[in-house]
Protein backbone atom coordinates (compact mmCIF):
# COMPACT_ATOMS: atom_id res chain seq x y z
CA UNK A 1 0.00 0.00 0.00
CA UNK A 2 2.77 2.36 0.90
CA UNK A 3 4.34 1.86 -2.50
CA UNK A 4 1.02 2.62 -4.21
CA UNK A 5 0.80 5.96 -2.40
CA UNK A 6 4.30 6.86 -3.57
CA UNK A 7 3.33 5.98 -7.10
CA UNK A 8 0.75 8.73 -7.42
CA UNK A 9 1.97 11.10 -4.76
CA UNK A 10 3.24 13.59 -7.31
CA UNK A 11 0.02 13.37 -9.32
CA UNK A 12 -2.57 13.82 -6.57
CA UNK A 13 -2.83 17.62 -6.71
CA UNK A 14 -2.86 17.73 -10.49
CA UNK A 15 -5.60 15.11 -10.53
CA UNK A 16 -7.68 16.95 -7.95
CA UNK A 17 -7.41 20.15 -9.99
CA UNK A 18 -8.06 18.33 -13.28
CA UNK A 19 -4.68 19.55 -14.48
CA UNK A 20 -3.06 16.29 -15.57
CA UNK A 21 -2.36 15.10 -19.07
CA UNK A 22 -4.64 12.25 -20.23
CA UNK A 23 -2.04 9.52 -19.68
CA UNK A 24 -1.36 10.69 -16.15
CA UNK A 25 -5.05 10.78 -15.38
CA UNK A 26 -5.49 7.18 -16.50
CA UNK A 27 -2.55 6.17 -14.33
CA UNK A 28 -4.14 7.75 -11.27
CA UNK A 29 -7.55 6.25 -11.93
CA UNK A 30 -6.13 2.77 -12.45
CA UNK A 31 -4.13 3.11 -9.26
CA UNK A 32 -6.86 4.37 -6.94
CA UNK A 33 -9.15 1.63 -8.22
CA UNK A 34 -6.93 -0.90 -6.46
CA UNK A 35 -5.47 1.09 -3.58
CA UNK A 36 -7.78 2.10 -0.77
CA UNK A 37 -5.22 4.29 1.00
CA UNK A 38 -4.46 6.25 -2.12
CA UNK A 39 -8.16 6.65 -2.80
CA UNK A 40 -8.63 8.13 0.66
CA UNK A 41 -5.65 10.40 0.16
CA UNK A 42 -7.00 11.54 -3.21
CA UNK A 43 -10.40 12.24 -1.69
CA UNK A 44 -8.86 14.54 0.91
CA UNK A 45 -6.87 16.43 -1.70
CA UNK A 46 -9.93 16.61 -3.95
CA UNK A 47 -12.15 17.99 -1.19
CA UNK A 48 -9.64 20.70 -0.37
CA UNK A 49 -9.18 21.63 -4.02
CA UNK A 50 -12.92 21.89 -4.61
CA UNK A 51 -13.28 24.48 -1.86
CA UNK A 52 -11.54 26.85 -4.26
CA UNK A 53 -15.00 27.23 -5.79
CA UNK A 54 -15.89 29.46 -2.86
CA UNK A 55 -13.26 31.92 -4.08
CA UNK A 56 -15.48 32.76 -7.06
CA UNK A 57 -17.96 35.50 -6.31
CA UNK A 58 -21.42 33.96 -5.80
CA UNK A 59 -23.95 35.28 -8.26
CA UNK A 60 -27.61 34.33 -8.29
CA UNK A 61 -28.51 32.70 -11.62
CA UNK A 62 -31.69 33.86 -13.37
CA UNK A 63 -34.94 32.28 -12.22
CA UNK A 64 -35.33 30.52 -15.56
CA UNK A 65 -32.43 28.22 -14.68
CA UNK A 66 -34.26 26.97 -11.61
CA UNK A 67 -37.54 26.64 -13.49
CA UNK A 68 -35.90 24.53 -16.19
CA UNK A 69 -34.07 22.28 -13.77
CA UNK A 70 -37.12 21.74 -11.58
CA UNK A 71 -39.26 21.05 -14.60
CA UNK A 72 -36.73 18.54 -15.91
CA UNK A 73 -36.61 16.83 -12.53
CA UNK A 74 -40.40 16.72 -12.30
CA UNK A 75 -40.58 15.23 -15.76
CA UNK A 76 -37.94 12.62 -15.03
CA UNK A 77 -39.78 11.64 -11.88
CA UNK A 78 -42.98 11.54 -13.87
CA UNK A 79 -41.48 9.23 -16.47
CA UNK A 80 -39.66 6.90 -14.13
CA UNK A 81 -42.53 6.14 -11.75
CA UNK A 82 -44.42 2.96 -12.67
CA UNK A 83 -48.08 3.75 -13.19
CA UNK A 84 -50.84 2.19 -11.20
CA UNK A 85 -52.32 1.13 -14.49
CA UNK A 86 -49.03 -0.43 -15.57
CA UNK A 87 -48.78 -2.43 -12.36
CA UNK A 88 -52.39 -3.53 -12.73
CA UNK A 89 -51.69 -4.25 -16.37
CA UNK A 90 -48.93 -6.71 -15.48
CA UNK A 91 -51.30 -8.62 -13.20
CA UNK A 92 -54.05 -8.56 -15.75
CA UNK A 93 -51.61 -9.72 -18.39
CA UNK A 94 -50.77 -12.81 -16.35
CA UNK A 95 -54.43 -13.53 -15.81
CA UNK A 96 -55.13 -13.00 -19.49
CA UNK A 97 -52.51 -15.56 -20.45
CA UNK A 98 -53.97 -18.08 -18.05
CA UNK A 99 -57.50 -17.37 -19.24
CA UNK A 100 -56.56 -17.69 -22.88
CA UNK A 101 -54.98 -21.08 -22.35
CA UNK A 102 -58.07 -22.21 -20.44
CA UNK A 103 -60.38 -20.96 -23.15
CA UNK A 104 -58.46 -22.75 -25.86
CA UNK A 105 -58.61 -25.90 -23.83
CA UNK A 106 -62.36 -25.51 -23.53
CA UNK A 107 -62.82 -24.79 -27.20
CA UNK A 108 -64.17 -21.31 -26.47
CA UNK A 109 -61.78 -19.42 -28.70
CA UNK A 110 -64.39 -18.47 -31.28
CA UNK A 111 -66.83 -17.15 -28.70
CA UNK A 112 -64.14 -15.00 -27.18
CA UNK A 113 -63.24 -13.46 -30.50
CA UNK A 114 -66.86 -12.65 -31.24
CA UNK A 115 -67.17 -10.86 -27.91
CA UNK A 116 -64.05 -8.82 -28.60
CA UNK A 117 -65.38 -7.74 -31.97
CA UNK A 118 -68.69 -6.77 -30.41
CA UNK A 119 -66.92 -4.74 -27.75
CA UNK A 120 -64.87 -2.92 -30.36
CA UNK A 121 -68.01 -2.09 -32.32
CA UNK A 122 -69.62 -0.68 -29.18
CA UNK A 123 -66.55 1.40 -28.56
CA UNK A 124 -66.63 2.74 -32.10
CA UNK A 125 -70.25 3.79 -31.73
CA UNK A 126 -69.44 5.58 -28.49
CA UNK A 127 -66.51 7.34 -30.14
CA UNK A 128 -68.76 8.59 -32.92
CA UNK A 129 -71.16 9.92 -30.32
CA UNK A 130 -68.36 11.71 -28.56
CA UNK A 131 -67.24 13.32 -31.79
CA UNK A 132 -70.74 14.62 -32.38
CA UNK A 133 -70.86 16.40 -29.04
CA UNK A 134 -67.29 17.71 -29.07
CA UNK A 135 -68.16 21.13 -30.41
CA UNK A 136 -70.65 21.68 -27.63
CA UNK A 137 -68.08 20.63 -25.07
CA UNK A 138 -65.52 23.05 -26.44
CA UNK A 139 -67.98 25.85 -25.86
CA UNK A 140 -68.59 24.58 -22.34
CA UNK A 141 -64.93 24.37 -21.41
CA UNK A 142 -64.10 27.70 -23.00
CA UNK A 143 -66.25 29.30 -20.33
CA UNK A 144 -64.38 27.66 -17.45
CA UNK A 145 -62.01 29.70 -15.34
CA UNK A 146 -59.09 27.30 -15.02
CA UNK A 147 -56.79 27.45 -18.00
CA UNK A 148 -53.28 26.02 -18.03
CA UNK A 149 -50.67 26.56 -20.74
CA UNK A 150 -48.27 23.83 -21.76
CA UNK A 151 -44.67 24.40 -22.84
CA UNK A 152 -43.79 23.09 -26.31
CA UNK A 153 -40.42 21.56 -27.08
CA UNK A 154 -38.57 19.28 -29.45
CA UNK A 155 -40.38 18.85 -32.75
CA UNK A 156 -43.36 20.72 -31.30
CA UNK A 157 -41.43 23.93 -30.79
CA UNK A 158 -43.69 26.67 -32.09
CA UNK A 159 -46.88 24.87 -31.11
CA UNK A 160 -49.19 26.24 -28.43
CA UNK A 161 -51.41 24.28 -26.09
CA UNK A 162 -53.89 25.03 -23.35
CA UNK A 163 -55.90 22.88 -20.99
CA UNK A 164 -59.38 24.02 -19.99
CA UNK A 165 -60.69 22.39 -16.85
CA UNK A 166 -63.20 22.81 -14.07
CA UNK A 167 -62.00 21.97 -10.55
CA UNK A 168 -63.70 18.87 -9.21
CA UNK A 169 -64.61 17.53 -12.66
CA UNK A 170 -63.17 14.37 -14.19
CA UNK A 171 -62.80 15.90 -17.59
CA UNK A 172 -60.93 18.62 -19.39
CA UNK A 173 -60.30 19.89 -22.85
CA UNK A 174 -56.87 20.17 -24.43
CA UNK A 175 -56.61 22.57 -27.34
CA UNK A 176 -53.42 22.36 -29.38
CA UNK A 177 -52.35 24.56 -32.25
CA UNK A 178 -49.68 23.99 -34.88
CA UNK A 179 -48.59 20.58 -33.70
CA UNK A 180 -46.64 18.90 -36.53
CA UNK A 181 -47.98 15.81 -38.26
CA UNK A 182 -46.33 12.57 -37.29
CA UNK A 183 -45.05 9.73 -39.42
CA UNK A 184 -47.49 6.86 -40.05
CA UNK A 185 -47.83 4.52 -37.09
CA UNK A 186 -47.14 7.27 -34.56
CA UNK A 187 -49.57 9.39 -32.53
CA UNK A 188 -49.65 11.94 -29.76
CA UNK A 189 -50.76 10.75 -26.33
CA UNK A 190 -51.89 12.85 -23.38
CA UNK A 191 -50.92 12.02 -19.78
CA UNK A 192 -51.77 13.47 -16.41
CA UNK A 193 -49.72 12.72 -13.34
CA UNK A 194 -48.94 13.36 -9.73
CA UNK A 195 -46.12 11.88 -7.61
CA UNK A 196 -46.34 8.11 -7.78
CA UNK A 197 -48.90 7.97 -10.55
CA UNK A 198 -49.15 8.82 -14.19
CA UNK A 199 -52.30 8.20 -16.08
CA UNK A 200 -52.46 7.57 -19.83
CA UNK A 201 -55.28 9.46 -21.54
CA UNK A 202 -56.33 10.20 -25.08
CA UNK A 203 -54.35 9.34 -28.19
CA UNK A 204 -54.68 11.71 -31.13
CA UNK A 205 -53.12 12.69 -34.41
CA UNK A 206 -52.53 16.24 -35.54
CA UNK A 207 -54.39 16.42 -38.83
CA UNK A 208 -55.49 20.01 -38.50
CA UNK A 209 -53.83 23.21 -37.38
CA UNK A 210 -56.05 23.21 -34.29
CA UNK A 211 -56.87 20.01 -32.45
CA UNK A 212 -59.34 19.75 -29.56
CA UNK A 213 -58.89 16.66 -27.42
CA UNK A 214 -61.39 15.60 -24.77
CA UNK A 215 -59.73 14.26 -21.64
CA UNK A 216 -61.55 12.01 -19.21
CA UNK A 217 -59.77 11.10 -16.01
CA UNK A 218 -60.51 8.53 -13.29
CA UNK A 219 -60.20 11.26 -10.66
CA UNK A 220 -60.89 15.01 -10.78
CA UNK A 221 -58.43 16.90 -12.93
CA UNK A 222 -57.28 19.11 -10.08
CA UNK A 223 -56.01 16.06 -8.18
CA UNK A 224 -53.21 15.73 -10.75
CA UNK A 225 -50.14 17.95 -10.82
CA UNK A 226 -48.87 17.73 -14.38
CA UNK A 227 -50.08 17.22 -17.90
CA UNK A 228 -47.91 16.21 -20.82
CA UNK A 229 -48.12 15.03 -24.39
CA UNK A 230 -45.70 12.44 -25.75
CA UNK A 231 -45.17 10.71 -29.06
CA UNK A 232 -46.13 7.05 -28.95
CA UNK A 233 -47.09 4.24 -31.26
CA UNK A 234 -50.49 4.83 -32.84
CA UNK A 235 -52.32 2.49 -30.49
CA UNK A 236 -51.06 4.40 -27.44
CA UNK A 237 -48.92 3.26 -24.53
CA UNK A 238 -49.19 2.44 -20.85
CA UNK A 239 -45.79 3.96 -20.09
CA UNK A 240 -44.81 7.35 -21.53
CA UNK A 241 -41.83 7.46 -23.85
CA UNK A 242 -39.03 9.96 -23.37
CA UNK A 243 -40.27 11.89 -26.38
CA UNK A 244 -42.19 14.67 -24.66
CA UNK A 245 -43.48 17.48 -26.84
CA UNK A 246 -45.76 19.38 -24.44
CA UNK A 247 -45.49 19.69 -20.70
CA UNK A 248 -47.19 21.82 -18.05
CA UNK A 249 -48.42 22.11 -14.50
CA UNK A 250 -52.06 21.64 -13.58
Amino acid sequence: MEMHTEHIEDLAEGYALDALEPGERVRVEEHIAICRLCKQHMQGVHDTAQLLAFAAAPIAPPDRCKLRVMEKVAREQFLSTPTRRQRTGRMLSAWATFATIALIAMGAWTISLQREVAAMQDQQVRAQGEQATLQAQIAHFASTETVRSLRAEGIATGATAKTYMTPGKNEALLVVRNLPRLEPGKAYQVWVARPGLHQPLSVFTANQSTESVMLRTPEPMDTYRWIMVTIEDAQGAQQPSQETVLFGDL
Binding site: A16, L17, D18, A19, L20, F54, A57, P58, K66, V73
Partner: protein, 196 residues
Protein backbone atom coordinates in the same frame (compact mmCIF):
# COMPACT_ATOMS: atom_id res chain seq x y z
CA UNK B 1 -11.58 17.98 7.81
CA UNK B 2 -14.68 20.11 8.24
CA UNK B 3 -15.07 21.49 4.75
CA UNK B 4 -18.11 23.60 5.33
CA UNK B 5 -19.23 25.66 8.24
CA UNK B 6 -22.12 24.23 10.22
CA UNK B 7 -25.53 25.70 9.61
CA UNK B 8 -27.83 26.70 12.45
CA UNK B 9 -29.03 23.73 14.47
CA UNK B 10 -32.58 23.97 13.15
CA UNK B 11 -31.44 23.92 9.54
CA UNK B 12 -31.35 20.64 7.68
CA UNK B 13 -27.77 19.83 6.72
CA UNK B 14 -26.65 19.53 3.14
CA UNK B 15 -25.87 15.88 3.70
CA UNK B 16 -29.36 15.17 5.04
CA UNK B 17 -30.81 16.95 2.05
CA UNK B 18 -28.81 15.03 -0.54
CA UNK B 19 -29.84 11.78 1.14
CA UNK B 20 -33.45 12.91 0.78
CA UNK B 21 -32.79 13.78 -2.86
CA UNK B 22 -31.52 10.23 -3.38
CA UNK B 23 -34.96 9.08 -2.24
CA UNK B 24 -36.61 11.31 -4.84
CA UNK B 25 -37.43 14.32 -2.66
CA UNK B 26 -37.73 17.28 -5.00
CA UNK B 27 -38.20 19.78 -2.18
CA UNK B 28 -34.86 18.77 -0.71
CA UNK B 29 -33.34 19.18 -4.15
CA UNK B 30 -34.85 22.64 -4.45
CA UNK B 31 -33.39 23.64 -1.09
CA UNK B 32 -29.93 22.54 -2.20
CA UNK B 33 -30.40 24.45 -5.43
CA UNK B 34 -31.31 27.58 -3.51
CA UNK B 35 -28.30 27.19 -1.24
CA UNK B 36 -25.67 26.47 -3.84
CA UNK B 37 -26.76 27.76 -7.23
CA UNK B 38 -25.11 31.18 -6.67
CA UNK B 39 -21.78 29.50 -5.90
CA UNK B 40 -22.09 27.20 -8.91
CA UNK B 41 -23.10 30.08 -11.18
CA UNK B 42 -20.20 32.16 -9.88
CA UNK B 43 -17.78 29.30 -10.56
CA UNK B 44 -19.24 28.76 -14.03
CA UNK B 45 -19.05 32.45 -14.90
CA UNK B 46 -15.48 32.75 -13.72
CA UNK B 47 -14.46 29.64 -15.63
CA UNK B 48 -16.52 29.85 -18.80
CA UNK B 49 -16.74 33.64 -18.99
CA UNK B 50 -20.04 33.69 -20.90
CA UNK B 51 -23.31 34.23 -19.13
CA UNK B 52 -25.42 32.04 -21.40
CA UNK B 53 -22.97 29.16 -21.22
CA UNK B 54 -22.75 29.55 -17.46
CA UNK B 55 -26.54 29.36 -17.18
CA UNK B 56 -26.47 26.08 -19.08
CA UNK B 57 -23.74 24.89 -16.74
CA UNK B 58 -25.88 25.56 -13.66
CA UNK B 59 -28.76 23.60 -15.12
CA UNK B 60 -26.59 20.69 -16.19
CA UNK B 61 -24.69 20.56 -12.90
CA UNK B 62 -27.85 20.41 -10.80
CA UNK B 63 -29.38 17.92 -13.19
CA UNK B 64 -26.33 15.72 -12.57
CA UNK B 65 -26.76 16.22 -8.84
CA UNK B 66 -30.31 14.92 -9.14
CA UNK B 67 -29.20 11.96 -11.23
CA UNK B 68 -26.17 11.06 -9.11
CA UNK B 69 -27.62 11.65 -5.66
CA UNK B 70 -27.79 7.92 -5.01
CA UNK B 71 -24.04 7.63 -5.53
CA UNK B 72 -23.30 10.19 -2.80
CA UNK B 73 -21.27 8.36 -0.17
CA UNK B 74 -22.38 8.66 3.44
CA UNK B 75 -19.75 10.34 5.58
CA UNK B 76 -18.61 12.70 2.84
CA UNK B 77 -19.34 16.41 2.68
CA UNK B 78 -21.79 17.68 0.13
CA UNK B 79 -20.10 20.91 -0.96
CA UNK B 80 -16.86 19.39 -2.32
CA UNK B 81 -18.90 16.68 -4.03
CA UNK B 82 -21.10 19.28 -5.70
CA UNK B 83 -18.17 21.50 -6.65
CA UNK B 84 -16.38 18.47 -8.07
CA UNK B 85 -19.30 17.91 -10.42
CA UNK B 86 -19.47 21.62 -11.26
CA UNK B 87 -15.74 21.95 -11.81
CA UNK B 88 -15.55 18.87 -14.02
CA UNK B 89 -18.39 20.14 -16.15
CA UNK B 90 -16.96 23.63 -16.49
CA UNK B 91 -13.44 22.46 -17.34
CA UNK B 92 -14.72 19.89 -19.84
CA UNK B 93 -16.88 22.56 -21.45
CA UNK B 94 -14.01 25.02 -21.49
CA UNK B 95 -11.73 22.53 -23.19
CA UNK B 96 -14.43 21.37 -25.53
CA UNK B 97 -14.95 24.88 -26.71
CA UNK B 98 -11.23 25.26 -27.09
CA UNK B 99 -11.57 28.61 -25.44
CA UNK B 100 -8.26 28.68 -23.74
CA UNK B 101 -8.41 31.11 -20.86
CA UNK B 102 -7.33 34.65 -20.94
CA UNK B 103 -5.59 35.78 -17.78
CA UNK B 104 -8.13 34.75 -15.21
CA UNK B 105 -7.80 37.80 -13.05
CA UNK B 106 -7.17 41.44 -13.66
CA UNK B 107 -5.22 41.69 -10.45
CA UNK B 108 -2.62 38.96 -10.32
CA UNK B 109 -1.59 39.79 -6.81
CA UNK B 110 -5.04 39.64 -5.24
CA UNK B 111 -7.13 37.99 -7.92
CA UNK B 112 -9.98 36.55 -5.91
CA UNK B 113 -10.81 39.92 -4.43
CA UNK B 114 -11.46 41.48 -7.79
CA UNK B 115 -15.03 40.34 -8.31
CA UNK B 116 -17.67 40.41 -5.65
CA UNK B 117 -21.36 40.08 -6.36
CA UNK B 118 -24.41 40.01 -4.19
CA UNK B 119 -25.67 36.53 -3.32
CA UNK B 120 -29.37 35.85 -3.59
CA UNK B 121 -30.78 34.56 -0.34
CA UNK B 122 -29.84 36.45 2.79
CA UNK B 123 -29.46 33.55 5.23
CA UNK B 124 -27.62 31.25 2.86
CA UNK B 125 -25.67 34.16 1.49
CA UNK B 126 -24.39 35.00 4.94
CA UNK B 127 -23.14 31.47 5.39
CA UNK B 128 -21.73 31.37 1.90
CA UNK B 129 -19.99 34.68 2.46
CA UNK B 130 -18.42 33.27 5.58
CA UNK B 131 -17.17 30.23 3.72
CA UNK B 132 -15.88 32.50 0.98
CA UNK B 133 -14.15 34.73 3.49
CA UNK B 134 -12.38 31.75 4.99
CA UNK B 135 -11.27 30.36 1.64
CA UNK B 136 -10.11 33.74 0.35
CA UNK B 137 -8.30 34.38 3.60
CA UNK B 138 -6.56 31.03 3.28
CA UNK B 139 -5.61 31.74 -0.32
CA UNK B 140 -4.12 35.07 0.67
CA UNK B 141 -1.79 33.31 3.04
CA UNK B 142 -0.27 31.28 0.23
CA UNK B 143 2.84 32.51 -1.57
CA UNK B 144 1.75 34.30 -4.74
CA UNK B 145 3.28 31.72 -7.08
CA UNK B 146 1.46 28.85 -5.36
CA UNK B 147 -1.82 30.71 -5.46
CA UNK B 148 -1.29 31.54 -9.10
CA UNK B 149 -0.66 27.89 -10.01
CA UNK B 150 -3.79 26.74 -8.20
CA UNK B 151 -5.98 29.42 -9.76
CA UNK B 152 -4.71 28.91 -13.29
CA UNK B 153 -5.54 25.23 -12.99
CA UNK B 154 -8.83 25.49 -11.14
CA UNK B 155 -10.43 28.48 -12.83
CA UNK B 156 -8.37 28.62 -16.00
CA UNK B 157 -8.58 24.96 -16.92
CA UNK B 158 -4.87 24.76 -17.69
CA UNK B 159 -2.93 21.56 -17.24
CA UNK B 160 0.30 21.53 -15.29
CA UNK B 161 2.25 21.40 -18.53
CA UNK B 162 0.34 24.36 -19.94
CA UNK B 163 0.93 26.36 -16.79
CA UNK B 164 4.63 25.55 -16.92
CA UNK B 165 4.76 26.69 -20.53
CA UNK B 166 2.80 29.85 -19.86
CA UNK B 167 4.87 30.87 -16.87
CA UNK B 168 8.16 29.67 -18.32
CA UNK B 169 8.87 27.43 -15.34
CA UNK B 170 9.96 23.79 -15.27
CA UNK B 171 7.07 21.30 -14.97
CA UNK B 172 8.46 20.01 -11.69
CA UNK B 173 8.32 23.51 -10.24
CA UNK B 174 4.65 23.83 -11.09
CA UNK B 175 3.86 20.43 -9.59
CA UNK B 176 5.69 21.39 -6.42
CA UNK B 177 3.83 24.71 -6.20
CA UNK B 178 0.51 22.95 -6.57
CA UNK B 179 1.36 20.31 -4.03
CA UNK B 180 2.64 22.76 -1.46
CA UNK B 181 -0.20 25.17 -2.19
CA UNK B 182 -2.92 22.60 -1.61
CA UNK B 183 -1.18 21.14 1.43
CA UNK B 184 -0.87 24.57 2.99
CA UNK B 185 -4.43 25.47 2.04
CA UNK B 186 -5.68 22.31 3.70
CA UNK B 187 -3.75 23.08 6.85
CA UNK B 188 -5.01 26.64 7.00
CA UNK B 189 -8.62 25.65 6.39
CA UNK B 190 -8.47 22.95 9.04
CA UNK B 191 -7.19 25.53 11.49
CA UNK B 192 -9.79 28.08 10.46
CA UNK B 193 -12.72 25.72 10.80
CA UNK B 194 -11.42 24.38 14.07
CA UNK B 195 -11.28 27.94 15.39
CA UNK B 196 -14.85 28.77 14.33
Amino acid sequence: MAQVQQRPADAVSDEQLIEAVARGDRHAFETLYDRYSPAVFGLALKTLREREVAEEAVQEVFWRVWQRAKSFEAGRKFAPWLFGIAHNYCIDELRRRRARPQPVYEDDEHPVLSSIAEPSDVADAALESEQRRIVIGALQQLPAEQRQALELAYFGGLTQQEIAARLGNPLGTIKTRMRLGLQKLRGILQGQYAAE
